[in-house]
Symmetry: C2
């Protein structure tokens, strides 16, 4: 893991860009000596520099967590293949015309999750070797499908916050039953692109004994600010 740049933010949080082999990532660490690690992935390959992700990461770091994110292959700062470009074009066209996009999502997001998992695990290993960063590990992400997969395969993940605002492939909807860590599941009640009933079914499916649904009115990006606070308190209960 090589750090390529760093800046100290007003609240004492250190924000560092890194690369790990070909994976570009960002790590936010608080001023405190020792911090539990939170993996924060943005939805379905949105770039790690996306402002809402960055704002959430900085807030969480200021609350005493080491927060890390990486770009998925073909996303953000990483080179895109012709196939990546084509898949995105198809998805955009389907969303624009309003035609059913499930199968396109399936063929785009499914492999994206599969390919992202080993990279997140490699990143996790590297991060836990850094001084001042320790377990237990939390997952807090807009990318619910990736979070489900990671929570199933990676026993170091001790708690997870998911956002019900992205397509979850059938494979991850199936394995939701195998997720057993404490969960906070955040739903925007009027998220046009993400059917409410599907999100409620997913909440129902999670195998976790402790799972909490928070739902608020409004569209995809309308999550109220207090959910950020609630999300950190959820992590506090399980990671601190």
């Amino acid at each position: 893991m090589q750090f390529t740049s760093e800046q100290r933010l007003d609240d004492g949080v250190l924000e560092r860009e890194f690369t790990l082999d070909e994976i570009p990532g960002t790590l936010w660490t608080p001023g405190s000596a020792q911090a539990p690690l939170v993996l924060m992935a943005h939805n379905n390959g949105l770039p790690k520099a996306q402002p809402r992700l960055v704002a959430r990461a900085r807030y969480t770091a200021a609350r005493g967590y080491a927060v890390a994110t990486i770009d998925a292959a073909g996303c953000g700062d990483r080179p895109r293949s012709a196939a990546d470009e084509q898949a995105r074009a198809e998805l955009r066209r389907a969303l624009h015309t309003g035609e059913p996009a499930d199968e396109i999502f399936e063929s785009f997001i499914g492999p994206l999750v599969e390919n992202a998992v080993p990279e997140w695990l490699t990143t996790l290993d590297a991060l836990l070797e850094l001084p001042g960063i320790g377990g237990p590990v939390g997952y807090s992400g807009g990318w619910t499908a990736l979070g489900i997969r990671l929570a199933v395969v990676e026993p170091r993940i001790a708690a997870a916050g998911f956002f019900a605002g992205g397509y979850v492939p059938r494979a991850q909807r199936e394995e939701a039953r195998q997720v057993t860590v404490p969960l906070l599941f955040l739903l925007q009640w009027d998220d046009e692109g993400n059917p409410r009933q599907r999100a409620l079914d997913l909440f129902d499916a999670f195998g976790s004994k402790e799972k909490t649904l928070h739902a608020n009115p409004g569209g995809h990006t309308g999550t109220p600010w207090f959910e950020l606070e609630d999300g950190c308190r959820f992590l506090d209960r399980h990671l601190k």
Copy 2:
């Protein structure tokens, strides 16, 4: 309003029994000089001395609120008429045999709500005349139907926490759209006696721009402890 007994609890909260005409009530006040008032009604006429209500009231008072509850007519410490006894017997029989109880609930809970509202408003007036108790007023109760009615008719109520675990008469389901104060709506996902879809429909119906649903797995009495804390933070945001 006449205080008939008092005890000082370990955390500095003063717990006082009172009567207001024929209405028996309990008031919990914190050590602090000035406290916003929270009306806390137990579900569908359960007694004010019910241990879960008392625990919630004491916790909330220790967090800096004046908390008050009263017994509804025919409930708790108040005399029961032959009609009260008969209605309860019918309800118990229906719940025991598992026959559809909606119509029995309708005829029992509907008038209970109607009769309780003026008594709560009289109590509210009397409480706000006491030194150290001020507005804005919150409602936090297992008795959602009463809370809906109060939130619609009483503009001093500025925020309300409801528990989706009791029968809400059709009249209150209808007027849920007229509720506009910030809401926290708490649902037990596997509450056998209270259909989940009906609770989700009610959440959907509330007219409030700020409304949040918290759902947790488990039956009627399985609400996790952290929801008590979340409920107080919700009140803090709107009453302090």
